[in-house]
């Protein structure tokens, strides 16, 4: 198939490499170096989608990041991605894309009926209409809107692509590789500064690729290529194409998305799809250029109406004619440059200039080429539905209010230039106070808040000579401040044609009796009439007008519509534009893939996975693991076809009858040393610590200053000034920070050091009536009798040549010990315990059995210490010293904490002794009471008591102290359960605690 609109020997594409691709199911050909847009245009395809609200046919409007229409669904290597701009997507072999916003097809679109109903779809239509009746929203409106609108479909499959994050520091970060970017980068690089130069397009050079200028006796394009080639050889310079700086954040941090693989048929092995760069720069130079503005006229959204700069870019970069009978509609000299390019390539354009008699070198050149120019002429309306076929044109009075007689002229495209809008998004994001510049009818950066400077067209400077001069100077001076080098750079001479003043004209009036839609925002279908309605209805703030009409709220963020919208509001309101103000620019400048933002933190990498030194043993012995914070812990060790319930019951029962061993490495451990260590503990814990003897452990509870329990655990006095603190697995990091806070900020006079030793020790809890017999065999040289190692005692022992710490502490309520060895010996310790324990019928037990054992003993854990309970609530008030002060003590006097019927931990047993109570169930007096049924308490933890062989739960219950023996209902609407229960003591098993002391 021929590419009917491709012309010979023009452009920067590689004609030796032909590529095939599919659009809406049809196969076309293009060349390497094409974008999807340029390749489609080369094939004469202008219809690419349907508009968002009215489903009008849409073509190409721009040639890059500013494109409001040509958003497609892309298919690449078995994946699909929505919201891709065809003007940015580079062509690759086998690319497939589809139109969005059209159903069932781009040529026949049901939603286009909205176009004929447009009188019913004015500004705020969605707000007004779909509000009522409310019940219609979910069933009728939302599904309809969802089906008829949208910018593509997100894939529901797992994304196979990989995304990377990179952190980088630079002296200068330069956004954009046009003339100002290149000049400033070059000067700074010569001074030895560390420079990052970022370009969002595949090709460096910006406007130099398309403009007819000379720099240093070369074409602008050749000069740009020379500079880039030299920068690439310099070790202090990073030059990145396909890289969009999309966000400017606090303290000169900018974020850039580098498209590493999107231009290839598939991502190379070991390469990411995209790389997100977090760049902290000392100085930021914004050389992001400018975007051409449209002029507003009737049916200005018809395919074939596009920016004149885009038409020029398609021609000069891609060798593509966007039409063979172009009409150029301009209010400044830029339109002439496009017309001249058409003429040079054998196509006869007609130029309509809204100005009366402009004079400049460019206009003279156009005249000399014999181009047909009509002054004081405007396009009133484009004609044609799926493509421009002709234009209604008319002369216009000098005050731009009166149109002359309408004529119709045949054309197949209309190239519009309404002058230039500096791209100030990054400057604005940085906190720069942007200001309106009358001469160019646009905003430019003003007072900087951070270390940024804006150069060239982005700063409203459109002369190349001035831009280069300023940019070399800026690069040089900013880098000199950092490197103290001052290499002089000769500024090359510049040949460019001088322009004349543009016309302050942006919207063609409606002719009498005509009601053409004149669009401001092409992506969201916001027309002049919508803004008029919003203002009539009383909206004044530009931020409100924006939200009510959705002007500038589409994925292009109003790159081509914002200023014309402001012009319109200012005209109707009879205010100047700066008085209307501007809406806020927020990151990202262009849409960024969620994958790039997430980076590698997905799936298993979303958080670190911590494993104990015994992990491989657990794996080999059929452990079923559970996430405990960032740790993986055995939940139970599966035997045969056992399920969780059966397995954990067997393990818990074995602890109660024989002996079990549990991996408790994950417990937080903090080493505390120093002469004031006891004093610190005494202030941190609620109970007394000053008299703890060496070789003894003590259970402690710590509070936050607001009186809420923060954590619990045992701390052991290893030697005179050395303590070993344990915390719960979940609170380990917080407790360390908490101790450091008080030691560094509140009581710096205390001579104590704290350090985490969680990872230095492997821990095994040995629990059960036979645990002492086992321990004696593990440590034959130690006295582990009840006298030698009493409850809460501590000794050091020799475990077959390995130094071990032995604590007599119990979480299960049984006679129990905890053995710690250095982590590297963890597996050795575990295997020895299993081997020696065999004769005592030892079994390993997981977290489920661990929970069962502690619940039926009434020991509190994380589900009771949930950040809402005080010591009394957990029946821990006996540990609260009345004599000494400690963190949070004063809060315990708060009236809510001392009321008679304060909540308190209780045990809960179902009356039928059969039905397990779901955790989180509410306890109520009357299961039939009208909603909201007053809640008396909640179930914090549930288990199957192995001691009594029936369900047992713990609950935090209002006035729990006086509720023992009461009958209540446990209700779980989520599980649809109502269970009659009896309240019992939380100490369900061994209430006197005799076993641990046996």
């Amino acid at each position: 198939m021929t590419q009917a609109f491709r012309i010979e020997n023009v452009g920067l594409i590689n004609r030796d490499k032909k590529l095939s691709f599919k659009f809406n199911g049809k196969t076309y050909f293009g060349y390497e170096g094409d974008t999807l847009a340029s390749a489609l245009l080369a094939n004469g395809v202008h219809l690419v989608g349907r508009s968002f609200k009215y489903h009008r046919p849409r073509g190409f409007f721009g040639a890059g990041v500013d494109e409001p229409y040509a958003v497609v669904q892309l298919y690449r290597n078995g994946e699909t991605e929505p919201n891709i701009k065809a003007t940015e997507q580079e062509l690759f072999e086998g690319l497939e894309a589809k139109s969005v916003n059209c159903w069932p097809s781009v040529n026949f679109d049901i939603g286009a009926i909205n176009n004929f109903l447009k009188i019913f779809l004015p500004a705020g239509f969605y707000y007004k209409t779909f509000m009522w009746p409310k019940s219609f929203w979910y069933q009728i409106y939302e599904p309809f809107i969802r089906k008829a609108a949208g910018l593509g479909v997100a894939s529901t499959k797992h994304d196979k692509e990989r995304y990377e994050h990179k952190y980088e520091y630079s002296d200068l970060l330069i956004a954009g590789s046009g003339p100002s970017g290149l000049a400033s980068a070059y000067a700074a690089a010569k001074n030895g500064a560390k420079v990052i130069l970022a370009e969002d397009k595949p090709r460096f050079g910006g406007t130099l690729l398309t403009s007819d200028v000379n720099i240093g006796n070369q074409s602008g394009k050749d000069w740009a290529e020379g500079i880039i080639a030299e920068l690439k050889t310099m070790p202090n310079v990073v030059v990145k194409n396909r890289s969009q700086i999309f966000g400017y954040y606090d303290h000169n941090m900018l974020v850039m998305s580098e498209k590493v693989s999107d231009h290839l048929p598939s991502t190379k092995k070991y390469h990411p799809n995209k790389r997100l760069w977090y760049i902290r720069a000392k100085e930021v130079l914004i050389s992001s250029g400018s975007i051409e503005r449209p002029i507003v006229f009737g049916n200005n959204d018809t395919p074939g109406v596009m920016l004149s700069s885009a038409a020029k870019e398609y021609l000069k970069v891609y060798g593509v004619l966007v039409g063979r009978r172009p009409l150029v509609f301009t209010n400044n000299d830029s339109g002439y440059e496009t017309a001249i390019e058409f003429k040079k390539h054998g196509v006869d354009p007609v130029v309509l200039d809204s100005r009366k008699n402009p004079e400049s070198e460019i206009i003279d050149e156009a005249k000399n080429l014999g181009i047909n120019i009509k002054n004081s002429y405007v396009v009133v309306a484009a004609q044609g539905y799926k493509k421009v076929k002709s234009a209604d044109i008319a002369s216009i009075s000098e005050d731009k209010k009166q149109l002359g007689k309408m004529e119709n002229i045949l054309c197949d495209c209309i190239c519009v230039s309404g002058f230039w809008t500096p791209t100030i998004h990054l400057a604005s994001q940085s906190g720069n106070k942007i200001k309106f510049k009358e001469e160019i009818d646009a905003f430019v950066p003003g007072q900087s808040k951070q270390n940024e400077i804006t150069l060239g067209a982005a700063n409203g400077v459109f002369s190349l000579e001035e831009t280069l001069k300023n940019s070399f100077k800026a690069g040089s001076e900013l880098s000199k401040k950092i490197t103290e080098n001052d290499i002089e750079i000769a500024i090359p001479n510049v040949v460019e044609k001088k322009s004349s003043q543009h016309d302050k004209f942006w919207c063609v009036p409606l002719p009498k009796g005509k009601n053409y839609k004149r669009f401001l925002d092409f992506q969201n279908d916001v027309a002049v009439s919508d803004i008029e309605i919003a203002l009539r209805e009383g909206y004044r703030s530009i931020e409100h007008v924006k939200r009510y009409t959705t002007l500038g709220m589409a994925t292009d963020q109003g790159k081509t519509s914002n200023l014309n919208g402001l012009q319109l509001v200012s005209e109707i309101e009879n205010k100047v534009v700066p008085a209307v103000g501007h809406t806020t620019f927020r990151p990202p400048y262009t849409p960024v893939s969620i994958g790039a933002i997430v980076g590698r933190e997905v799936g298993k990498h979303s958080k670190p996975t911590r494993k104990s030194p015994m992990h491989s043993w657990h794996e080999k012995n059929n452990a079923v693991f559970v996430d405990a914070g960032v740790w993986l812990r055995p939940r139970y060790y599966k035997r045969g076809n056992e399920n969780l319930f059966e397995g954990s019951k067997r393990e818990a029962k074995n602890v109660r009858t024989n002996v079990g061993v549990c991996d408790v490495t994950t417990l937080g451990k903090i080493d505390i040393k120093g002469p004031d260590a006891a004093e610190l503990l005494n202030r941190v814990y609620t109970n007394a610590w000053l008299k703890l003897p060496i070789g003894k452990a003590r259970y402690g509870v710590m509070l936050r200053e607001d009186g809420i329990v923060m954590d619990d655990g045992t701390t052991t006095r290893i030697s005179e000034n050395h303590y070993h603190m344990t915390t719960t697995t979940a609170q380990a990091a917080n407790v360390l920070s908490h101790l450091e806070y008080y030691l560094q900020l509140v009581w710096p006079e205390l001579n104590v050091n704290v350090v985490s030793t969680t990872e230095q020790w492997a821990g095994a809890a040995i629990a059960g009536p036979k645990s002492r017999d086992l321990l004696q065999k593990l440590f034959p040289n130690s006295d582990v009798s009840n006298e030698g190692l009493p409850f809460m005692g501590y000794i050091e022992g020799d475990l077959f040549g390995v130094k071990a710490r032995i604590f007599r502490i119990s979480f299960s309520g049984e006679l129990a010990y905890e053995v710690n060895v250095e982590s590297d010996y963890g597996n050795f310790m575990w295997e020895k315990i299993m081997e020696v324990g065999e004769e005592f019928n030892i079994q390993p037990y997981g977290t489920e059995a661990l929970s069962t054992l502690r619940i039926e003993m009434g020991h509190v854990a994380g589900s009771e210490l949930d950040g809402r309970t005080i010591p009394y609530d957990n029946a821990l008030e006996g540990l609260v010293s009345k004599k000494k002060d400690f963190i949070g003590k004063r809060s315990l006097q708060r009236s809510a904490f001392t009321v008679e019927d304060r909540q308190r931990i209780v045990g809960v047993v179902p009356l039928d002794k059969q039905t397990s109570i779901p955790e989180g169930s509410h306890l109520v007096k009357d299961d039939k009471a009208p909603l909201p049924n007053p809640k008396l308490g909640h179930i914090s933890a549930s288990c199957w008591s192995v001691e009594y062989d029936n369900p047992f739960s713990l609950a935090i219950l209002k006035d729990g102290k006086n509720m023992i023996g009461q009958k209540l209902f446990a209700m779980s609407p989520l599980k649809n359960k109502v269970i009659p229960v009896e309240i019992v003591s939380s100490h369900y098993v061994d209430p006197k605690g005799e076993r641990v002391r046996s």
Binding site: D250, M253, G431, L745, R890
Partner: protein, 89 residues
Amino acid sequence: MLYINCPHCGMRSQNEFSYGGDASVKRPELNKELSDQEWDNFVYNRKSLRGKHLEFWQHISGCRQWIKVERDTATHEIFKTFKADEEVA
């Protein structure tokens, strides 16, 4: 993301730090008789002001030191950072 000058380590990104609240609040001395109001002021009541604010941060992924940072809550400008025991001028 803020760029914080840890007085012990130098310029580091905010994601190495954790926030620790208003540094102008002083914990009452231990064993001191306090009215409910005085204790509430220490535990709960904060000015939450707009502008210059002295606050605690901990360099949690670095030296683990608690430091004081003088920051503008509206503009995020950081004027100065101090070691824990350094007097704020």
